[in-house]
């Protein structure tokens, strides 16, 4: 048996594969992310349709604070870097370093959510609420659901941290699977924000 065959067979036995030889969980995660594209795609479509309908409330360019949101976007973008560094650390069995990067990712996620809460509060004080106008409804639904996804991601990151700290997951290529799955979810939330930031905040009316 060649070294390569040993390695392949080792990988096969460590994970649950489909009849096609692919990792079941990873396949399910990609299918889930594909369905999430539909979810956010429909919400972005709705926002684009209603962004001009401001009724008596403020219009987008009156309330958006582009420099502030740019910083939030940068924070979320960098959280993708810390996430992937966490995965790389777990894959080389450096659990301690992996946990540090997981915490850093969760911290950046919390920072983003804190910024979003502040932004929502400011908008509310300036007269834009969920029921103010179709623009307000579509804006809060889109960005709010994205924020909810980030929050779920933070909870998963903290769970991973706890599991690693208590020895429930260890380093190594296959053992780092849970980190990779949460990472896929986290990066997806990041790319959704890349689209939201461009469509909602930067493209003029």
């Amino acid at each position: 048996m060649s070294t390569h065959e040993v390695a392949v067979e080792g990988a096969v036995h460590e994970e649950h594969h489909t009849s096609m030889g692919l990792d079941n969980v990873k396949m399910a995660m990609w299918a889930f992310l594909g369905s999430e594209c539909l979810f956010f795609g429909s919400m972005i479509s709705t926002y684009l349709l209603y962004r001009g309908r401001t009724a008596s409330g403020p219009s987008p360019h009156e309330i958006y604070d582009i420099p502030y949101t740019s910083v939030s976007s940068f924070v979320l973008l960098m959280s993708s870097l810390t996430m992937v560094l966490a995965l790389a650390a777990f894959q080389r069995s450096d659990d301690r370093q992996g946990r540090i990067w997981l915490l850093a990712t969760a911290f950046l996620g919390v920072t983003f959510i804190g910024g979003q809460i502040y932004e929502f509060t400011t908008f509310y004080e300036e007269g834009l609420a969920l029921a103010t106008s179709p623009f307000g409804s579509s804006f809060f639904m889109l960005t709010g659901f994205h924020g909810a996804h980030v929050t779920v991601g933070i909870l998963m990151l903290l769970s991973l941290y706890g599991m690693s700290a208590f020895g429930r997951i260890e380093g190594g290529r296959s053992a780092a699977r849970p980190v990779e799955m949460v990472g896929l979810y986290w990066h997806f939330v990041d790319i959704v924000w890349i689209v939201i930031f461009m469509i909602v905040y930067l493209i003029p009316e």
Partner: protein, 126 residues
């Protein structure tokens, strides 16, 4: 010893994918590119001279960021092609939904696209 033929190709595909995951240094390089592109994205928003090119440029910059994250951070560049197909299928369906919603509203209520501030939020045909 040989592996079952039905899955050997995919197994090797997957193993090769893991062997070729980027290094932390490469991840940092990608993040620097993402930062620079984001900076450009925000900068052109404030440059009036960009004019009509603003939207195409914003779309281009967002596409670059999107592709970089998906291919490098989500490892789609190195993973099985089946994962790529699953994701692209979802994206294609999202675009179809967008086109259907746009078409439905356009044919039902063309005024919705031109109506702006001062609207009461209800459809003009209602």
């Amino acid at each position: 010893m040989s592996l079952p033929e039905v899955s050997t190709h995919q197994q090797i595909d997957e193993l090769r994918a893991e062997e070729h995951h980027p290094t932390p240094r490469q991840y940092v390089k990608v993040a620097i590119v993402l930062f620079v592109v984001t900076a450009f994205e925000v900068a052109i928003y404030y440059i009036e001279a960009v004019g009509g090119l603003l939207v195409p440029l914003l779309l281009l910059f967002a596409l670059i960021k999107f592709v970089l994250v998906v291919l490098w951070f989500m490892h789609l560049r190195f993973d099985s092609r089946l994962f790529r197909r699953l994701f692209v299928t979802g994206m294609a369906f999202a675009l179809i939904v967008f086109a259907i919603v746009l078409a439905t509203f356009f044919f039902r209520d063309p005024g919705a696209f031109t109506e702006s501030n001062g609207s009461n939020g209800s459809s003009s045909s209602e």
